[in-house]
């Protein structure tokens, strides 16, 4: 019996090659896209799960509102980790990380810059699963000036991995003894360091203040401990430890502070949530975004659905042709059940072929998709353990989903009616089919509008006046490497032909240093007088080099001796001060930890607001102080020959410091990097949208073919009566275009609302969706649909009516 099903199914598919092709191809395309998205989602959801104790590990966060400014930090005060272990019985262990930037590591006479470096407590090896290939957790990172490196680094500097006991020379001066070599941290980890330095080395790690937040801190709960219990004790913990400090420096208690609307609040993020659900200040790496997972999953389901709809629509449209077969089979004694089975076999067979093609297509396009998604996914043996069952599931599920409607629809035909020819066309009661076509185009139009909205916003970001000029600025990194020669370096660079200006500071608007601090409007340090914002140390060349503009006052000047106590504020800071201080007035800052010495600063200028955060955020208060920061040398170039200038700069660098690596970036590229994930999502959406439209059009193409076939006779009659090609094409296309228009009416407002609400509103600076976006999407959809249908309609309209009438 089953063989008979397969045989008939196979013949039926072979007989209807066009139908089979559209189904297999459409389904394969849809499934391939789905598979890629499944890879992506599985990959995103798999972060940090390599840790065997993952379900007991939590990172602590601090949400702070202070001095009119609110922020969410992934870092907390230094003493917290020890306090957690000693005061909370639920906590088994806790460990801290602290990054202070990149280090130069000596290899022979050369210094190589390493960026993935962190200071860490030894307890990280008890909390995270970081297996040792040499040495052990027992004595790793315990003593000051000890290090743990990964295999890659061990091979890079020593050519082998059994290097415990050897020494690394960092920044030319500091010796670190290697106490362990660990396996490289898996790709799916929210932190991926190559080099761990012992926390003991860092004086800052012994700080006792609870008012400064610099340490990423993780805790491991005891088995069975309840995280809720721990969380409920956080506010008491902060209170107990910071009240003395609050009294001393701000002369107030925690409750006073809270009464004024400020707060310090600890919270936790479960380890496995960090990658997708955490986006705080001072994350240890670039995290993913759960929203993208949702969006892509939704797209995958939609695309698969579009492909399944094609199958259902074409099968039922074809039903007129198959009705006779069903009738005959029923008369011959076939039960409905058998017919259902027969049609399901057919659709599962199609799905199987499509799935095989899709699997190969997905496998072949994985590298391309990796590039688009910024990932390094690969199909490993381990992946096959979930992949194969998934594929089998897809075949059965999609096969049944796509085949169920035709199976029950076709098998429900009454044999007498069919054989008497009463059932003149499967095309007449096509309400469900129409609804499905509307749904397909609804999704396609939704995707088009969504994609256009993303692109529009990205273009807006590209073209927005940021308040500074990021074009033609070279950022020479780590200028501090040159030591006391940085100033010489800067002056020499400024002399180079093609260089307009150069400013020495690591505080660049497109990233680099950040320093959040508080400054007061009166020498009595009271929260009411506090202004919290970014405080950046810059030189007198900063504003002209960056192309920033003063709204009032003047720039810093080398000639003015008093400028070391001068400030330039941005407009947002002035606004927040709300008249409490203004141009030519004064601000105050504690100069030591005890807040005894007080510095008095004069506001000499107001710089127009420029965007130094992502455009998702408003411009926040910024205070520029005059001084020497050697983080980077920012060089404004005026010539087209940027390469030539760069080569000269590098030559100067090598002259001053032959053994130090030279690294640089272009400021406009740094800016673009901030929006890389949006760019990625944008291009992935374009690809998916294209596929969705192609699949939807394939279905429409098939339906139009059947519609034309069903109306063959009518077309013939009309032509005999004098209808022209145009009127026939219009007649055939009208019905479908009507469906597309309904889809537009439904999709446009919904897509508009959705994108506005869930995408654009996350930007403080945004380009709202304009009417033309909707018009473009709508006319695009209509045009594509029309062209698709026209193929069939024109073909039908050109047939000699004699042919179609003959067959009657």
């Amino acid at each position: 019996m089953f063989r008979n099903y397969i045989k008939t199914a196979f013949r039926s598919l072979k007989k209807n090659k066009g139908f089979t092709f559209i189904n297999v191809f459409g389904l394969a395309l849809g499934l391939a896209v789905c598979l890629l998205i499944v890879f992506y989602v599985v990959d995103e959801l798999g972060y940090d799960r390599y840790n065997t104790k993952a379900d007991r590990i939590y990172r602590l966060n601090n949400d702070i509102k202070f001095g009119g400014h609110e922020d969410s930090y992934a870092v907390i005060p230094a003493p917290t980790a020890a306090a957690l272990v000693s005061e909370f019985p639920e906590v088994e262990n806790a460990a801290r990380f602290r990054q202070t930037g990149s280090f130069r590591v000596k290899k022979g006479s050369q210094n190589i810059q390493e960026d993935k470096v962190t200071f860490a407590d030894p307890a990280i090896f008890n909390i995270f699963t970081l297996p040792f290939v040499d040495g052990s957790a027992t004595d790793a990172l315990k003593a000051p000036h000890t290090a743990v490196i990964n295999e890659t680094l061990a091979k890079k500097y020593f050519g082998r991995t059994d290097v415990v006991g050897k020494t690394l020379v960092l920044n030319d001066t500091e010796n670190y003894k290697i106490t362990g070599v660990i396996k490289d941290i898996p790709r799916q980890s929210h932190f991926r360091f190559d080099l761990f330095l012992s926390m003991e080395t860092l004086a800052e790690s012994k700080q006792t203040t609870w008012l400064s937040n610099n340490f990423q801190t993780y805790m491991l709960l005891k088995p069975g401990a309840n995280i809720k219990t721990v969380e409920s004790k956080f506010s008491d913990l902060i209170n107990r430890h910071s009240s003395a400090e609050l009294q001393q420096f701000l002369h107030m208690s925690m409750s006073d502070l809270e009464k004024q609307g400020n707060y310090f609040r600890f919270s936790v993020t479960p380890l496995t949530d960090i990658h997708l659900k955490s986006n705080r200040v001072a994350e240890m790496g670039e995290n993913g975004n759960i929203q993208y997972v949702y969006i892509f999953s939704a797209i995958a389901i939609f695309i698969l659905f579009i492909a399944c709809v094609n199958f259902m629509n074409l099968s039922t449209a074809r039903s007129a042709n198959r009705a006779r077969e069903v009738g005959v089979r029923k008369v011959l004694g076939s039960a409905r059940k058998d017919l259902v089975f027969q049609f399901l076999t057919e659709s599962i067979l199609i799905t199987l072929v499509a799935t095989l093609i899709a699997a190969v297509a997905a496998w072949l396009s994985l590298p391309l998709f990796n590039q688009m998604a910024g990932k390094e996914m690969s199909i490993t043996l381990k992946a096959l353990t979930w992949l194969l069952p998934t594929l089998i599931f897809i075949v059965v599920f999609v096969g049944c989903l796509a085949g169920s409607y035709p199976a029950f629809f076709l098998s429900g035909f009454q044999p007498i009616a069919v054989l008497k020819g009463k059932l003149s066309g499967g095309f007449k009661n096509g309400n469900l089919r129409s609804a499905l076509v509307i749904f397909q185009f609804f999704i396609s139009i939704f995707l088009i509008i969504g994609t256009l909205a993303i692109y529009n916003q990205l273009k807006y970001i590209q073209n927005k006046d940021l308040g500074f000029n990021r074009e033609q600025v070279l950022v020479i990194k780590h200028a501090w490497i040159l030591g006391n020669q940085t100033e010489t370096f800067k002056q020499e660079i400024k002399q180079l032909p093609g260089v307009t200006n150069a400013s020495l500071t690591g505080y660049t608007p497109t990233g680099g240093n950040r320093n959040s601090s508080t400054i007061y409007t009166s020498p009595v340090f009271d929260l009411k007088n506090a202004l919290n914002g970014q405080v950046w140390t810059v030189d007198a060349d900063y504003l002209p080099t960056m192309g920033m503009h003063l709204a009032a006052g003047r720039n810093f000047s080398k000639e003015m001796a008093t400028d070391s106590t001068s400030l330039i504020l941005n407009e947002s800071a002035i606004k927040l001060l709300n008249g409490k201080s203004n141009l030519n007035q004064f601000l105050y800052k504690p100069l030591d930890d005890q807040m005894k010495k007080i510095g008095k600063y004069k506001i000499i200028g107001i710089v127009k607001d420029f965007n130094f955060n992502s455009l998702r955020e408003n411009v926040t208060p910024l205070i520029l102080t005059y001084g020497k920061d050697q983080g980077a040398l920012n060089v404004r170039v005026s010539t087209k020959d940027v390469k030539g200038v760069l080569a000269q700069i590098e030559r100067k660098w090598k002259e001053l410091s032959p053994n130090q690596s030279f690294s640089f970036s272009f400021m406009d590229q740094d800016f673009d990097a901030i929006y890389r994930s949006e760019q990625r999502v944008g291009s992935i959406c374009v690809a998916f949208t294209t596929f969705a439209i192609i699949i939807a059009c394939l279905g429409l193409f098939g339906l139009a073919a059947y519609a034309a076939e069903q109306r063959n006779k009518e077309i013939g009659i009309r032509k005999v009566l004098g209808a022209g090609v145009t009127s026939i094409v219009t007649m055939l296309s009208k019905d479908f275009i009507k469906l597309v228009f309904i889809a537009i009416l439904l999709a446009a407002p919904l897509a508009w609302w959705f994108m506005q609400r869930f995408f654009l509103e996350s930007y403080a600076y945004r380009q709202n969706i304009q009417w033309w976006v909707v018009v473009v999407a709508a006319s695009g959809a209509v045009l594509i649909a029309f062209v698709t249908i026209s193929f069939q309609s024109i073909k039908a309209a050109l047939i000699n009516p004699v042919k179609s009438l003959r067959s009657e």
Binding site: I717, R718, V720, L721, G722, A723, G724, V802, L805, E808
Partner: protein
Amino acid sequence: MEKYYRTEEVETIALNKLSMEVKEGEFVAIMGPSGCGKSTLLNILGMLDDPDAGSYLFNGTEVANVGERKRADLRKHNIGFVFQSFNLIDELTVYENVELPLIYTGVASSDRVKRVEEVLEKMQIMHRRNHYPQQLSGGQQQRVAIARAVVNKPKLILADEPTGNLDSSNGNEVMELLTDLNEQGTTIIMVTHSEHDARYSHRIIRLLDGQTVMENIMI
């Protein structure tokens, strides 16, 4: 005229150097055994098809191989068709079926109402104007088809076995209608298998294997 059909294996000669002339106002019947080429001839006369060789003068103009657009234009203004299987459009009502040729020739809608009602009246089918073809008897359907064929006041009506699907009383009714139309000046060329029906015509052209074998003048 000559007409061949080529299929993969064989070439059928549907019309073999056939020659004929029909005068304005004539009522001609074409008869012959099945497969002798009657329908083929009618299709060519109706400008639905082209002859492979020869010439077709319609009203003094050469219309063989003149191009689809021109033929379609000539056709819709000059020729009405009546088929054995009626060929009404199932999705349209009686009224709409009859209205169709007027729409295609661009008659204004106010005129259309008048003219459609006029022919429906004449064909005595007015009371069924809002019915669908499936709701009518065969004879009624053919009357609608004839109404549709004449609504544009064509010079020539081509009828391919118009009574083939009808019983004798309905058939006679249809033949009376055609005779009336002919008497009012319309040229009629009718294919038929029925000697009875052929007797309504002025002249019978008998075909065999795509050739004229005999012409009977009936008047």
